[in-house]
Symmetry: C2
Subunit: 314 residues, 2 copies
Amino acid sequence: MAIAYDSRLGIGAAPNEWEQEILNQFSGQKVQIWPDISNPEDVEYLILWNTIHDPWVDYPNLKAMLSLSAGVEQLLRDPNIPTDVPLIRMIDISLSVGMAEYVMGAVMRIHLGHHFYSEQKAKHEWGFGQLDLKLAKDRTIGIMGAGELGQASGEMLASAGFRIQYWSRSRKEFDYATSYAGDGELKTFLASTDILVVLVPLTADTTDMINVDFLKMLPKGASVINVARGRIIKDEDLLACLDDGHIEQVILDVFRKEPLPAEHAFWVHPRVFMTPHISSITRAETAVPTIRSHIKAFENGHVPKGLVDRTRGY
Amino acid sequence: MAIAYDSRLGIGAAPNEWEQEILNQFSGQKVQIWPDISNPEDVEYLILWNTIHDPWVDYPNLKAMLSLSAGVEQLLRDPNIPTDVPLIRMIDISLSVGMAEYVMGAVMRIHLGHHFYSEQKAKHEWGFGQLDLKLAKDRTIGIMGAGELGQASGEMLASAGFRIQYWSRSRKEFDYATSYAGDGELKTFLASTDILVVLVPLTADTTDMINVDFLKMLPKGASVINVARGRIIKDEDLLACLDDGHIEQVILDVFRKEPLPAEHAFWVHPRVFMTPHISSITRAETAVPTIRSHIKAFENGHVPKGLVDRTRGY
């Protein structure tokens, strides 16, 4: 069993940590680490991120490609990436847990009026009694996307008392949440959502999905959290809805272009809180063991969880 | 059964809502509402807040006093308040739920580095990879006070994955948390706390308890959330520990004097986030039914939960 790790365009932080964890977890195996891949024909399992710079190294004998990223849309668009080799995306416990924690913090920030109280402090105003402080039980969180990340987030929010509803392509069953499915139920889902959490994968269908018509289906005063992909939202439409008062607060972790360009209006909008794509960081300590178990599944003739359906796009 | 509601120095918001809810819940009963208390000798049950302005009306035939506030320290210090009449403090479901939500939001704000990312945004800096983003499982929340509010908060935090430890006067049993008790275990409790949540009642023992010696027992980089009473913390000591870098973030909902005086350093300190005593708002819709069940308990010869021990101070 031979493995290669091609880290090009991986996360910027701590690349050595990843190489070290991969070497540790696969000690005793043949592991080649980019750029020292001298025998690409030996490689059966290729560990990679969401994208590869040209030139693509030709690995003629791959059994599988294993992404360290939950989103794989850039790999699917890359004409160099072989389409006849199984591609597995990351479904990692620390990834869903980290996402759920991020979403909980974002929802609580909106729910508890942190932005309002920061502004009050800046104005030296006490501000008691000025905000309608609802309890979580009176606030509906609408989560778009009912996959691993959406479910982990919804479960944590439900345990904090929020009303949860999902919207996804196909209907699901939850004991703690309502499930809406398909285009026909989108309007009903949005009309009853106070805080929208975007957690759908980026596909042809979801690109630019959140435009002004979509946003106007939310009730006035709703807020939006995007932790999926920047290209799902039309930025100018979101800004227009913020400025005409229809949308109250926006929390963004992902952007059409990252890092967010210096001239972008999000940088200076007072009701936009943003973070630099940190909502679900893949952590070496849990992700590499997950990759190892995926490879073991392949070796035993099984297909691991996270196999990408190229037609569906995730 | 005759009831009076003396709303003097109650919460500022929506006083009519409270009178209306009390009249609704006790319809058919004899209810006098301050200032229209023409027959104080008729009153058996007095509903009040945490303090009463002079002059105290003499109610010679009280069976019980029922506070709408969880904290009763001002009533206990008031020389006019009769000491031979049972005093019940508010233990209300929406109060603990609201507190738990507030504490969750405050802990998440610190845990996820919201302050850091706000500063990055103000500086137009992307800031990826600059913060050590731990998971909740690697963060210990130390809760001082293991009463109703502390337990509701700790349970919600535990369900979000945080490590929870309590410190209280006497040892308690929790399946989700460690219990430290008494002065002898305070140091161990503090040394292993990343984020301290203050939820002890204000008593002679806890007044000024959080001073520089106390704060230095926390590890460097710890953060402090006070949702109990302002007089538990020595403000100048807390500010000194913020400024020498020992304490990282402070979130305050309560202050020695409220509203916080205009000249106070908290207003302008960048690492202090504050709210105007809103962490657990008593809500008429749930608190008045609680009072009604307390009165029913008295009428049936029982003592309701929340009976204040005047020696202990809560």
